[in-house]
Symmetry: C2
Subunit: 379 residues, 2 copies
Amino acid sequence: MIYLDNAATSWPKPEGVAMAVYDCILNKGANPGRSGHKMALEAGRIVLECRETLAEFFGIDDPMRIIFALNTTDALNMAIKGLLRPGQHAVTSSMEHNSVARPLKKLESIGVETTYVSADGIGLILPDDIEKAIKPNTAVIILTLASNVTGTIEPYREIGRIARRHGIPFLLDAAQGAGHIPINVNEDDIDIMAFPGHKGLLGPQGTGGLYIREGIDLDTIKEGGTGSHSDLVTQPDIMPDRYESGTLNTPGIAGLKAGIDYINSIGIEAIRKHEIEICGRIIDGLKEIDGVKVYGPQNAEMHAGVVAFNVGNMDSTEVSYILDSEFEIEVRAGLHCSGLAHMTIGTFGQGVVRVSPGPFTTEQEIGKFLEAVRQIARL
Amino acid sequence: MIYLDNAATSWPKPEGVAMAVYDCILNKGANPGRSGHKMALEAGRIVLECRETLAEFFGIDDPMRIIFALNTTDALNMAIKGLLRPGQHAVTSSMEHNSVARPLKKLESIGVETTYVSADGIGLILPDDIEKAIKPNTAVIILTLASNVTGTIEPYREIGRIARRHGIPFLLDAAQGAGHIPINVNEDDIDIMAFPGHKGLLGPQGTGGLYIREGIDLDTIKEGGTGSHSDLVTQPDIMPDRYESGTLNTPGIAGLKAGIDYINSIGIEAIRKHEIEICGRIIDGLKEIDGVKVYGPQNAEMHAGVVAFNVGNMDSTEVSYILDSEFEIEVRAGLHCSGLAHMTIGTFGQGVVRVSPGPFTTEQEIGKFLEAVRQIARL
């Protein structure tokens, strides 16, 4: 089986990930930050170490400004709803995932205004267009690091600088890119960042997080027991407790740390270099096949591990079905939770076939994948 | 080491739990409900099977009415905020965890009214008092199945009947009890139920859920990608997608199913019988020690695997510290995220030492625990 669906969730995980989760459940299974006994402290240490590892990885000064969440969507909801008030305005893009578009749609019903800046035909947002969309009541700029449909890496650094210049918080959705595109929240002027644990960071599903720069105060969308200030019926103000109610996914967090440790052991630059090489082969190989159309940028450097294509007018789900059933190649087809992006690139009806390699994808696997598409294109 | 902190999180887990998680990460690691390929379908099957197992376990007719969440707090926030509107009234109790009290406090700021019905000195809520608190604008009755401080099992069946008679939705917080106190949502008139995966159900941390009876429509507090109706920018109405945005904790859910399978293999009645025996020994043993005060009901049948006590005027955290450091016995002390309950039983200053055995706790362990308390009481 050839797995090319890493943009949905990365697989396989590095060797240490499943073992770290297993070991945590077996040997460090207490509740972190609740009781004071040894095993609870050990569980607390697992969580703290992962927070510190994440902080170093993303250039975050204070690990306590990182919140653990169920997934990126959970983190994005905390950020978007914690930030925006009726009468305020959000600037975002037509390349956003439904995890941004749907919370914003919900907020429109209570009087939040939104502007969706359109990308060009390869899914690229122009920083100038973002700047032009800013209004006096703009309270946040929300941008995906890279499109989950076309893989297009957006000019997030330039847009971060624009946000900083205007004194507007910049929220980056790093669902596609965290773990393989180098990110430094200070250098990149990122104020808030939602990220998955189970994609590029190579951790298990059930993990993700939110970075909130000091000085940015988000209202809470969830309150509850935090193991701190139990005497108070109001949510405590201290970080990260304010946004982390209830028991964390400690085993998952142990696995997430193992995933990042693996990335650090190889070096994110090496992972990115491999990704560019593999994506380059995919793009070049697909372009040589008659009837195949590749979406997004035509050079691999502008892709975050995702390439979208179609075979003639074939339904994208039909292509992915044949790849799976006849060639044991696993890709994703359809709209990928991002209807807006498909309107932008003109594939709202057909959807696209999405190939997303990972750090363990080999050139041979891509060779087999291209051969399979060649055969499908001849049908 | 003797672990007596199962009310925070159960440990050890049954043998199959860690292995189910491990196997899922290694061999079924795709994203459920997203792509159509074989491994994604297999991941989807894991989630479906756990949903079906939970439904059978709780007497739920339609498994699709069960939502997976990060933890009970996540589920309670979805329920409480999805249900209550400004001007509406909630009846609840003084024995609630901060996971109920803090979301309600937050809602008070937008004009939701709350009544906290006081428990008696053993932490018991009288159904009559709940009924008397009902007003024309009461939109929900929220009750903990059992206190996480005293272990007192509340008369949830009687209160469920009252709610049903008045046509008011009944929300049960089953954080303490699910997995060892038999629950049947139909027979017990439960309309909405939040439950943890990592306590009595013996699954891993990072799991929990919410049951929502058909006909009850909760507003969403989170929206995002659901893998369904990707063309729509509004949250889809279908269950469970409406409340399950973003990637689920598939490995955790695999482990949760293994935990419930274990309970089913032993029988919940046997687990409950063991719990009553062990709690009986704890209560009787503690009461024989000079200077020790046991809180809550004095008979084990009224306890859900939790016994609270103090040794003279010693600070509860001091007692738990000695138990851990000198006897390797792990319990929890303090306020346990439930300040209100401590006001009710008069331990707001001192807190309590909480002993919470699990299905693997042995009589010998309880013997050693009682001997340790005896020594501490002589200090």
